[in-house]
């Protein structure tokens, strides 16, 4: 059932967070009682470079409306260089998604450290708002997975 009102539309958002920075940042946001929308479903990954392009496409296929990848700031990667590789890969992937006609605002990469609880909560709030404005992901969803 398509929902046009941004008020009633609850987007499904998948956030891939790296274990060492962003996931800890989310933890801190929680213990600091900083609010972020419950629409964001966090998946913990060892490093932002663990995010295979297929994860992102798969999430969209299974009904996600937006996907965000959070990792350590460049230079701060727990594995030294993982996020540099992730940055190149995601740059190319996002450009490709735009090229085949998928709104590029549905995907985002944000660098969030373990101490940046405020940034985490702000990022998630703004991303959810952005997806709400875009509306439901009808172009990409796999119809079998929609209720």
């Amino acid at each position: 059932m398509p929902m046009n009102s941004t008020e009633s539309f609850a987007p499904k958002i998948v956030a891939f967070c790296c274990n060492w920075c962003s996931y800890a940042g989310a933890d801190l946001a929680g213990s600091s009682r900083l609010a972020y929308p419950a629409d964001v479903k966090i998946i913990k990954v060892p490093c932002s470079c663990r995010v295979n392009p297929m994860f992102i496409l798969r999430a969209f296929e299974k009904g996600a409306d937006g996907v965000i990848i959070c990792g350590c700031h460049p230079g701060d990667c727990h594995y030294s260089t993982g996020n540099y590789y992730a940055r190149r890969r995601m740059t190319l992937l996002f450009s490709m998604l735009e090229y085949i006609g998928i709104e590029k605002d549905r995907v985002r990469v944000e660098w969030v450290s373990a101490a940046e609880a405020v940034k985490f909560s702000e990022t998630m709030n703004s991303f959810v708002l952005q997806i709400k404005n875009l509306g439901e992901n009808v172009r990409l969803g796999d119809l079998r997975c929609k209720s």
Binding site: L57, Y85, T91, Y99, G101
Partner: protein, 320 residues
């Protein structure tokens, strides 16, 4: 062609190599296919003409598992793929004796048929080593003529050049066939609106029958076990595929060869549905060139691949 055939025969007789990897004539004269020639007798079927589009580099992986050396015939653009495979340690240099063959562009039979020419019996003038620019096509309905340059594959219109990047010897002359900018079509698509782009690709990709020809022909697609062969992956078959699955297959396939794709154009050439698959690969090449500096996969064996290296001041995702 005779010169090339004789040279291969001579090399095999002199025991320089035990077998040859070349093209074998098919049923119609326009469907030459890749083949191993294990003895000099088998060389009778050897052909080299405009319809020998197949890039033989990937067959070298198979040849490396065999005893002895293999003579491999490579067109200038095929040598890029060969280099790339060498760089990835998929083949061994000492197992190959490379004959760089001259090329004046490979032909596209569907372009010939698109001129309304049907019932083709024989095609004359497809020889690579003659300088004549005329194809004489014999059909059951009469004879036709077509300029050689009008029947070229799309990839040959944006040829990478006539230099062989790696070879042991060169036979024949190569010609420049460039008549278009290879990124022109990419730029055109980039100008479209989001919906138009989506419709364009949906239209093209919904033709996909998941035959895996693009994957099997691609010299860069050489993993022993492919992600798409997993039974956990729905798009392993067309039957249970939905509209997005086929997009996913082609995006991921292009992504897996990004930075390693030499733009040899085999994917588009072998596609039975004529899907312009090179549009994906070229988009990645264009982006890589723009963001990480000009890079041509396979032009040498030393340079780092753009996706296995990085710099501190790379562009941020989504900001370009």
């Amino acid at each position: 062609m005779q010169e090339l055939k004789n040279r291969i025969k001579q090399l095999m007789e002199e025991n320089v190599a035990q077998r040859a990897l070349g093209w074998k004539k098919g049923e119609f004269g326009y469907d030459a296919q890749a083949a191993f020639f294990e003895s000099t007798d088998e060389l009778d079927d050897f052909v080299y003409n405009g319809f020998c589009g197949a890039n033989l580099s990937k067959y070298m992986i198979e040849a490396c598992k065999k005893e002895g050396r293999t003579i491999i015939c490579l067109k200038p653009c095929d040598t890029y793929s060969f280099n790339q495979l060498l760089k990835e340690h998929r083949i061994q240099r000492e197992k190959a004796y490379i004959i760089g063959v001259g090329c004046k562009g490979t032909l596209d039979i569907s372009k010939i048929k698109a001129n309304g020419i049907e019932g083709i019996v024989d095609i004359e003038g497809a020889d690579m080593f003659s300088s004549e620019n005329l194809l004489k096509i014999k059909t059951v309905y009469g004879d036709h003529e077509l300029a050689y340059s009008d029947a070229l594959l799309e990839r040959c219109n944006c040829c990478k050049g006539k230099e062989h990047m790696i070879f042991d010897e060169i036979i024949g002359e190569s010609a420049d066939t460039v008549s278009a900018d290879r990124f022109e079509q990419i730029e055109k698509i980039e100008q479209l609106t989001s919906i138009e782009k989506f419709e364009f690709f949906r239209n093209e990709l919904s033709k996909c029958i998941r035959c895996n020809a693009c994957r099997n022909a691609c010299p860069a697609c050489n993993c022993r076990k492919c992600v798409f062969d997993s039974d956990k992956f729905d798009s392993a078959q067309k039957a249970n595929s939905d509209s997005f699955e086929e997009k996913m297959f082609h995006i991921i396939r292009a992504f897996h060869v990004a930075g390693r794709c030499t733009d040899c154009g085999e994917c588009s050439r072998v596609c039975p549905q004529n899907i312009p698959l090179h549009l994906f690969n070229r988009k990645f090449i264009k982006d890589i060139n723009m963001l990480y500096g000009d890079f041509s996969a396979g032009s040498n064996c030393e340079e780092n691949c753009p996706l296995t290296s990085y710099s501190f001041d790379d562009a941020e995702p989504g900001k370009i």
